[in-house]
């Protein structure tokens, strides 16, 4: 009965939604507002060799990306507050020697790849967050195969409160630096190419490392 009701509700919602969606300007045609207004300006101003998505993320809409790293940070502290006190972790699994060997074998390569993704993000697909997910996934993989203790060993205990905030902190630093050099918070100084590059890389690294620590801690908070 309840299922029927819900299905009826979902259908009832879907019909006007589909009607409205179908009435949108035809997607893919180059003359609709989405291509002729702001986006066109971004593409016309694009530098010689750059990933425009990363440029939008870090430069034009840097505030959103700052918000985004604060969102995952907020999720982490919310989960940490929720954590039960004094709960026993699950016993560590006994890993198969083959799986263990393979995981140990690929771990350094994956880490290298993750840093590659983080550092080349402003010219190719990728960036801080994607690298963070790969690094975090690496820790998760080790945790699932060898037990949470092994995953915890990846994280430096003393520096943890600073590292987990690396993303927002990097943004704050870049924001202040930009404010000093360009006169606007979160601006990137086009007239100082070295500093510009350093700020981009710094922010990407901050997002990458901070994100990886956050993903790993989220997993650890749930596992133990």
């Amino acid at each position: 009965m309840k299922g029927r009701l819900a299905a009826a509700f979902a259908t009832g919602v879907s019909i006007p939604m589909i009607a409205a969606m179908a009435a949108l300007p035809r997607h893919g045609s180059p003359d609709q507002p989405i291509h002729t207004h702001v986006a066109r300006h971004y593409i016309e101003q694009a530098p010689e060799s750059a990933n425009l998505v990363t440029q939008v993320l870090l430069d034009y809409r840097g505030m959103d990306t700052f918000g985004e790293v604060v969102v995952i940070f907020a999720a982490l502290v919310a989960v940490l507050v929720l954590r039960a006190r004094g709960e026993r972790p699950l016993p560590a699994p006994s890993p198969s020697p083959i799986v263990g060997f393979i995981v140990r074998l690929v771990t350094p390569f994956f880490a290298l790849f993750a840093f590659h993704v983080i550092l080349t993000g402003h010219e190719a697909p990728g960036g801080g967050l994607q690298g963070a997910a790969i690094l975090g996934g690496l820790v998760l993989m080790n945790g699932i195969v060898f037990g949470p203790e092994r995953a915890r060993a990846f994280l430096p205990t003393r520096a943890l409160p600073w590292l987990q905030g690396a993303g927002p902190l990097a943004f704050l630093a870049a924001g202040i630096l930009g404010g000093i050099t360009t006169g606007f918070a979160l601006g990137y100084p086009a007239h100082l190419p070295v500093l510009h590059e350093a700020m981009l890389v710094g922010v990407e690294l901050g997002i990458g490392i901070g994100g990886a620590v956050i993903f790993s801690r989220l997993y650890l908070a749930m596992e133990a």
Partner: protein, 77 residues
């Protein structure tokens, strides 16, 4: 040909989403959800959004599924 590929992917998406919705087995649903995410990722790669595809693969299909599986394992004892 291009459109056909898109159509197949869209159909697959709807199918996997329905499968997630109908599945009684939680772990199975989590895996189906990963399949759904990866299909979406293919669609986006094909649509010229490699960044989004990469993120969806790493975060949506990877981390989210991991978290689902961990929680399912801990709550089905």
């Amino acid at each position: 040909m291009n459109e056909l590929f898109d159509l197949v992917l869209l159909g697959l998406l709807v199918l996997t989403a329905l499968a997630v919705a109908r599945s009684r087995d939680l772990a199975g649903a989590a895996i189906l959800f990963a399949a759904y995410s990866l299909t979406l990722c293919l669609l986006w790669q094909h649509r010229g959004a490699p960044d989004v595809a990469l993120t969806e693969a790493a975060v949506g299909a990877g981390v989210t599924t991991f978290l689902f599986l961990v929680v399912i394992a801990r709550t089905s004892e």
